[in-house]
């Protein structure tokens, strides 16, 4: 069985800068993997390369063994790659119900249907309701997204990604900006993501990282620095040194 995600010697250059250099790593199906690193390590570039927002300068990206290096973002989404965004990327004027209806419909390939009213397909409606329930959005399902509390928006952010029935989910700082009192909802949600979904978490919140990840990769200056189990990484003196500015990665 091919790995869920594999990158082979991935490189990205912007002029003289090289935010991603020779990154080769793989995620097994069902993995709970965290990608961490100090500021400017190249995590954002990495996620943009994986999702197809940026094209790599060289190297390949494989999804379930299939080469997706040249595919556009929406095509990757169709193949089962979903992501959340560090800063909410939601549809402010739509309600959570509408947002999820849209996502479910695109996933099911009915986005071109110009005739049947949205949300009236029974299986899709059931899926929307299930997502609403799973992400605790029932009380706000009919409110404009723009006026939701931030924590609810973060949950919706993840719910939209899950609506795409991803096999691979990229979580970009899911807890960023969430007030303390709403944080535990996010943590609990992330913890209970379906086991068959491969998850790559990009995060600075060490509580979340160490609670969640079974393996951790540390990115420094665009290159993979250390990879290992949480214990290994936590104990690795080089990692601490990098974070404290004691070594030059």
């Amino acid at each position: 069985m091919p790995p869920a995600l594999e990158t082979i010697a991935l490189n990205k250059r912007f002029g003289g800068i090289r935010p991603t250099s020779d990154v080769t790593f793989r995620l097994e199906t069902g993995a709970r993997h965290a990608l961490i690193g100090p500021n400017g390590a190249g995590k954002t570039t990495m996620i943009n390369l994986l999702t197809g927002v940026l094209r790599p300068s060289s190297g390949r990206i494989l999804l379930d063994g299939r080469d997706i290096t040249d595919l556009k973002p929406h095509a990757r989404a169709r193949l089962g790659m979903a992501r959340t965004f560090q800063i909410n990327q939601l549809f402010g004027e739509l309600t959570p119900l509408e947002t999820l209806s849209f996502a479910v419909s695109e996933q099911a390939g009915t986005g071109w249907d110009v005739w049947r009213p949205a949300g009236t397909r029974r299986t899709q409606a059931a899926r929307v309701i299930e997502l609403i329930e799973r992400f605790g959005l029932a009380d706000v399902m009919n409110a404009r997204t723009a006026i939701l509390p931030y924590g609810k928006q973060r949950l919706l952010e993840i719910a939209v990604a899950m609506a795409c029935r991803p096999r691979l989910l990229l979580l970009d700082e899911p807890a960023a900006g969430v007030p303390e009192e709403e944080r535990h909802d996010i943590l609990a949600t992330v913890m209970t993501l379906p086991a068959d979904v491969t998850v790559l978490l990009i995060e600075h919140d060490m509580d979340l990282v160490f609670n969640f990840a079974r393996r951790i990769s540390v990115l420094v200056n665009g290159a993979l620095f250390v990879e290992g189990s949480p214990d290994e990484v936590a104990r690795d003196p080089r990692v601490k040194a990098v974070y404290l500015g004691e070594a030059d990665g």
Partner: protein, 340 residues
């Protein structure tokens, strides 16, 4: 989630497309005007095709977020297509000619949509404007076909369905225009309540995320732009058929600009904006220009300035009930359902 909440959610999902009393009332009033206001059918005709034209702009501006200052290109093409078909007796049935004019405009919309995909607001504004002005020049230069600056003379429109003659009082013209507008509104309403329509709204709100969810954004844009162009073409054709005349004015920059005002006055993005805007704008323009034939644009200008300064959202809040109940999700009923 309680079973009740689940039922609510299901009901809300299915209820997006339900008709609200306000909508029914609106169309009943429109139908009643054919009988109750026989002396005003001419301006009502103008309102009706303007409403259709504004509805067409709403499809791309209100639903897909494309700002256009050249929507008159499609309107004009439709107008000339219908005029030429009638003048040279190529197609005598007005309804068929209407359809052909719409198709011609849709084709132009499809071709030019690729230009509109590039660039941001200002670029789009100028490209659409440029296309309309080019068409205007084209029509101007080919005077042998279009009559040039004198307009297309000698258009005679055959009776509708072979039976209803377009009379001087505009009765047939009004019923015809209103009926066409109503039917096309129904179609637009259906489309905008569909998955396709929902995806357009999502794309307008956040194209990057819509793409990340798996939506082919460019292709949807092309589709809706083509559709809107077809609608605009039909509106133009209605103008020609009801006045038996068309001229270069149909392509003018002022027409596109006025159209934008119409839509903004009514509020974009809920289908009724263009319709209400058309009614308000025309009646306002007509009454103002009757009171002060020479200085009425001043008051229109003042209105625009005021609308922007006060805030469009607040100004168009008076349409809120309709807006809330119409094509979009019915929140009040949702809240009631949740309470129940």
């Amino acid at each position: 989630m309680s079973p009740q909440a689940q039922a609510d959610a299901a009901q809300l999902l299915a209820g997006r497309a339900r008709w609200h009393p306000f909508e029914v009332l609106f169309w009943l009033a429109a139908a009643a005007s054919t009988v109750l206001l026989p002396g005003h059918h001419l301006i009502l005709t103008e309102i009706a095709w303007l409403a259709l034209f504004a509805l067409s702009l709403d499809l791309i501006l209100g639903y897909a977020g494309i700002v256009s200052l050249g929507h008159a290109a499609f309107f004009g093409l439709g107008a000339y297509a219908a005029g030429l078909l009638a003048k040279h007796e190529l197609v005598n049935e007005p309804l068929l000619a209407l359809l052909l004019a719409g198709l011609a405009a849709a084709l132009l919309g499809f071709v030019t949509s690729f230009l509109v995909l590039r660039g941001a607001d200002l670029t789009r504004l100028m490209v659409t404007l440029g296309v309309a002005l080019l068409l205007r020049e084209l029509a101007n230069k080919h005077a042998w076909l279009t009559g040039g600056a004198d307009g297309l003379q000698g258009v005679t429109v055959e009776p509708l369905l072979g039976r209803f003659r377009f009379d001087m009082f505009g009765h047939t013209g009004y019923v015809y225009t209103l009926a066409v507008t109503f039917v096309l509104f129904l179609v637009a309403r259906r489309i905008m309540n569909s998955s396709f329509g929902l995806s357009l709204q999502a794309m307008k709100e956040n194209p990057a995320r819509a793409e990340a969810v798996g939506m082919p954004v460019s292709r949807r844009l092309i589709a809706v732009y083509t559709l809107a162009a077809g609608y605009a073409g039909i509106a133009g054709a209605l103008l020609t058929q009801t006045t038996a005349f068309t001229s270069l004015d149909v392509f003018s920059f002022e027409r596109s600009a006025d159209l934008l005002l119409v839509l903004i006055i009514g509020g974009a993005g809920y289908l009724y904006g263009g319709l209400i805007g058309a009614v308000v704008f025309k009646l306002l323009q007509d009454s103002l220009s009757t009171i002060t034939p020479q200085y009425w644009p001043f008051w229109i200008g003042l209105l625009l300035v005021a609308i922007v300064l006060v805030g469009r959202e607040r100004i168009t809040a008076w349409t809120a009930p309709l807006r809330a109940f119409a094509g979009r999700l019915d929140r009040r009923r949702g809240a009631a359902a949740t309470k129940a």
